[in-house]
């Protein structure tokens, strides 16, 4: 009887140890079956496109450089398939990445189809900012950084997947003073939000940044306005979307001692670009722009609604600069603004889409 009790005791003890001691699991190697079908499908598709594309330097063809780039993408995909078959990849996302790259390569190649529009043709401007391929350079000026009051106003439209990096920059003159103090402003997208970011100081590394969910009416124009007015006690930063208040934000940026920080205009890098951020080029997006205006005053909601439905001549008070991208320019490297003070240039990949009358 005693022996039986002892046996039972040891059995229970062993069971308790088994239950309580972790780490004795028989972990099997986690092998995931990879599906290569999307890679082979894209390869077939791309091969068909390059085989049938007319390559040349005239309208109705694809540029030679684009074809070469596209062929590189095909070769890269073939290499991916070889790696996959050799067991180089572990996780499905690695296969998917090749497929996504292939899809982008197709879209990029198709966008280079040459169709020359004569200057003055009513058209819409699409700029391929993703991967820093194209942007609008508005030049350099200390006036772009504005000061205690300003309004940025623009028409924008985009399609799904219009930015890929953490921040998709629309228009910005945003930099730092060389010692870490953030300067300038940036209208940008991040996550699900359309935001305005302002460099604040004098403390280093401070920004006033706020936003709200961006409109997902893909393929439709939106009138986007950012207004900053430092003289207000609250709601110094506002954004309007199609004439309605998009958000308002009170400046709550303080330094370690509690002192309220203020907007810092640019002092070092005075560039203003659209679709790629002039300082951090990884912040980029692809989209269409119709009109862009910068005012050195804080516009009210009624002003914004009025501007949304009207044009400017260039002689309006407090207008810093204004461009209309509504027709094909004479010289894409020198597009004058309405005030006559500044010139913009289209850099890299962009496309004018003819407006059907």
């Amino acid at each position: 009887m005693k022996k039986r009790r002892q046996s039972l005791f040891w059995l229970l003890t062993a069971f308790a140890i088994y239950l309580t001691v972790p780490g004795c699991k028989d972990d099997k190697a986690n092998v995931i079956e990879l599906d290569l079908s999307c890679m082979t499908s894209y390869l077939d598709n791309m091969q068909h496109i390059i085989d049938t594309a007319q390559v040349g330097e005239v309208d109705g063809t694809f540029p030679v450089a684009s074809a070469t780039e596209f062929q590189s993408a095909i070769d890269e995909l073939k290499m991916g398939i070889s790696k996959a078959k050799a067991g180089y990849f572990v996780l499905p996302y690695e296969i998917n990445s090749y497929c996504i790259d292939a899809e982008k390569a197709i879209a990029s190649f198709m966008n280079t189809y040459q169709e020359t529009l004569t200057p003055g043709t009513p058209a819409q401007l699409q700029v391929f900012g993703i991967d820093k391929k194209g942007y609008i350079d508005f030049g350099e000026s200390s006036q772009f950084g504005a000061s205690n009051r300003f309004t940025v106003e623009a028409w924008l439209k985009y399609d799904a997947g219009f930015f890929e990096y953490a921040i998709g920059d629309f228009i910005a003159t945003f930099s730092h003073d060389g010692n870490g103090i953030q300067q300038g402003w940036m209208i940008n997208f991040s996550g699900a939000n359309l935001r305005t970011t302002l460099g604040m100081g004098p403390q280093q590394g401070r920004v006033l940044e706020w936003g709200a969910t961006y409109p997902t009416n893909y393929g439709e124009w939106n009138h986007i306005v950012a207004v900053y007015d430092q003289s207000l006690a609250a709601d110094q930063l506002k954004m309007y979307l199609n004439g309605e208040v998009f958000f308002s934000k009170t400046n709550d940026i303080r330094d370690g001692s509690g002192a309220l920080q203020s907007y810092q205009p640019n002092t070092r890098n005075l560039k203003m670009w659209a679709f790629v951020e002039p300082e951090d080029n990884n912040r980029n997006m692809t989209g269409y722009i119709r009109k862009f205006r910068l005012w050195s005053t804080a516009k009210s909601q009624s002003d914004v609604r009025s501007l949304m439905n009207s044009d400017v001549t260039g002689s309006e008070a407090n207008l810093v600069c204004a461009w209309d991208f509504t027709e094909v320019p004479e010289d894409p490297t020198s597009i004058s603004d309405k005030t006559g003070k500044f010139k913009a240039q289209l850099v890299g990949q962009y496309k004018w889409h003819k407006l059907e009358q």
Partner: protein
Amino acid sequence: MNKIISYLIAGLLTMLSCLAYAQERQMLSGIVLDEEGKPFAGVTVQLSPQRATKTDDNGQFSIAAALQETLTVSFVGYTTYTSTVSAFTPLRIQLSPAVNQLADVVVYGYGTVNKRDLTGAIAKIDNSDLMQAQATNVSESLNGRVSGVLVTKSSNRPGADMSIQIRGINSFNYSNEPLYVIDGVPSYSGMRHLNAADIESIDILKDASSSAIYGSRGANGVVIITTKSANRKAGFQVEYNGLLSLKTPTRIPDMIGNMGNGLEYIDYKIALWTAKYGESSLGRSDFLTADEKRRVKYGEYYDWLREISGPSVSNMHHVTANGSSEKSSYSFGLGFNDDDGMVGKENFKRYTFNLGLEHRASDRFKIGMNSYLSLNNTNHGADDALINAYFIPPVASPYDAEGNYSFIVQPTSSKINPFVQVENNKKITEAQYVNMAGFMEFKPLDGLTLKSQLAMQLDNDLYGEWIGTYTQAKQGVNAPDAFRRESKNTNYVWDNTATYDKRFNEHHLNAVGLFSMQKETHKGSQMRGVGLPFESDWHAIESAEEITGVSSYYWESSMLSYMARLNYDYQGKYLFTATGRADGSSRLANQNRWGFMPSLALGWRLSEENFLKGGPFDDLKLRLSWGKSGNNNVSYDVVYSRLDLSKYSLGQSGTNGYGLGSVKGNKDLRWEMMSEWNAGLDFAILDSRLTGTLEAYDRTTKDLIFQQAVAGLNGYTAILRNIGSTGNRGLEASLNSTNITTSNFQWRSNATFSLNRNRIKELYGTGEDDLANRWFIGQPINVIYDYEFLGIWQEEEADEARKFGQSVGHIKVKDQNGDYVLDERDYQVLGTPSPSWTFGLTNTFNYKNWDLSVFVYGRIGGLYNDDFTYTFTAWDNEHWNKLDVNYWTPENRSNEYPEIGAQSYYTQVLGKIPGTFVKIQNVSLGYTLPAQLLSRLHGKNARFYATVINPFTFTSYKGPDPETIGESMYTQLSLYPMSFNLGINFTF
């Protein structure tokens, strides 16, 4: 004549009968033990009023007894043992402390009083409770064991600081720590340097009528520590206490992919990058490096928190010896603590030495001294190491291809290898604490005692910090930094007291007068060396490329005090205490430096009244008190406007300039003064098997010193003024019960309960809130003022979310004013970072020589701002890890945490977390050696015990320890220890 004859006959018969009884008597012997099983000396053993004896030093007794006689064994403060003599075999009798604590002696400042006669709110914790807690820092032992006391830990690293609040906080800008008095000497070093084994008892003066005895230093309550050296026992004994502790991290937070589930992390990272950067971003080379992919392929994952931490062994040894002869008493103690941390080189070592001497030259004159020396070395561990272990994901390895530690473990992240960090970042404090006091006592008249005591306190500490090149701060590139800070503090106190204690029939009078002088000095310096060429720690700062942050200081403060206290009771039924103390402090200007702090207290023992006699109450006492005390924790220079030093470049060298500081001093400043009403009820029922104390209080602190902003026309932007007031109201309860008691088995319970409500009563005298500082009249001093978290926007709420500019999967907060704009106008006071109520419950079971105790501690309520929870649930850094919690997905409609990578606004609400927890904090099983075996070992007592500290914690907190919510993320972050202790207590 007949009468004489009859008396003679009666006397003769009586003598004969006594002789007959005497012939039946035999010697009855035995041993009496105290509650810890130690021999109990001086206990009265009685068979009749005429026949009584006392136990000797070994607890032994021997007395002539007859069968069927009633034997009683008694000692003050212990439950009397009663039995009928049925045999003459040796007895073994163990006395238990009377649950009726009203008989305890309480130290209440410049004297002692039986708790029975107490009129104020004073709680006591004695050595056995402190030893039971097995806490390296004695302060921690008070949590849940004393009502009205809240101890906050800054961290679970060894040697970490703790702060104590008694009945809430009073002051906005100055310390809310209580006054610590060690063996009669006010101390500003707290009690972290004391070894629990050296402490006889701790008495906590909670209400103003009690703390008024310490006048301008008593507003935050008073903690009186009595060390063993100041309380000598008769005879000679040597006692050894030893403890071996195995500490292991428990409740390690659940990070994504830990415990070998690395693919879980990959899934998370794919979701994060897809949401944040789009699906194409997964093809970027920095999504997963080739090494990381290889580890995924072979299932080679690192659980960084479990890799960087591990079990540690700590130990404590303490020897006390004390003895006494007719003329002299002495005691000394030696103690050693070695508390090892669970991460890197964290460690706390403490060496203590105490000595007490007393010589009684005559019945009227005696002299004596107490001294306490404590050497404390704290290795604070490395900054950044633990937090990096949280951040670095399981697919990164600490090793390079050769198996050595890499400095950079993630080429794509700024977080460096924590194993390298712990080797290259040192933070060490070496501190020495010396307390010495000598006294003379003279009794010129019966009942009158004159005593003069001169005490000195000396604290030195040296803090050094080394930040090597291969650290997070230096990124493996920049030359090392070293920082050195030294401070030296002295405190001299000369107390002269006259005590008159006399009983006149049914009147008892105790009067104390005090004249006291105190002077304290504080000096120190610090410097930082940037760019050190050698690994010289902080001992060769002169070799640095640049020396910065050089500063030094000196300040002194002194105080003169007069105090008088009168205690009077009639028949022990009507009790009266009046105290008045006048303090003059050098910290305030001439016209305001004297403050008078009076108090009055009344006690009424209702159970002694005829109308309650024979009722259910064995004891019932009602107390009512009022008092004032001050807070002199204000800066030493509040009345002065400082000239700040500025360095100006002039030519090739700089020059010093001085200008008025931004804050103007104010010579009209007065003491921050606290007044308090306290009502208390002490009771004992069911033959004193259930006793308790109930307290209710209402405290107001006025004339709080604030920096009031003023127009900067005069060169300063703020001025110090007495302009605010705060209040604390609360309830406290302490209950003790003997649930079961038989000859072999006892079950006793002790419970405490505390509730405090803090509020601001007035600010600036305008009746207006201070929004910038988040101070609101009617609300607690510290509040959480923010958006109200409602949950996560769900699919069916997409349209409503869009009205707020929000998306599905993002954080939903309440639009308080209904204007569809979420801004500061929607902020609300959501709560206060202080528990709504706390409790402690100790159950003790004794069976023969075995004892088992279980201590449960809980804090209920309170809302805290926790950086840890915020950082590891709200941050979506593309390369760092986060907590594995219930994140929203379209399929998983969580209302707790937003979608991974959502980049939601209002994420700060995720860091606002409830502080509720209940801990089974201490389970201890002990065995006391039987007396027969002990006598063979020539010992008086031997007890062995095994304890588990922190075995179970119930909380919703996602971090390790809910008691350290809010600890500094980069410098104090710690894991939560569960300790398995083995201990011995042996007395020779």
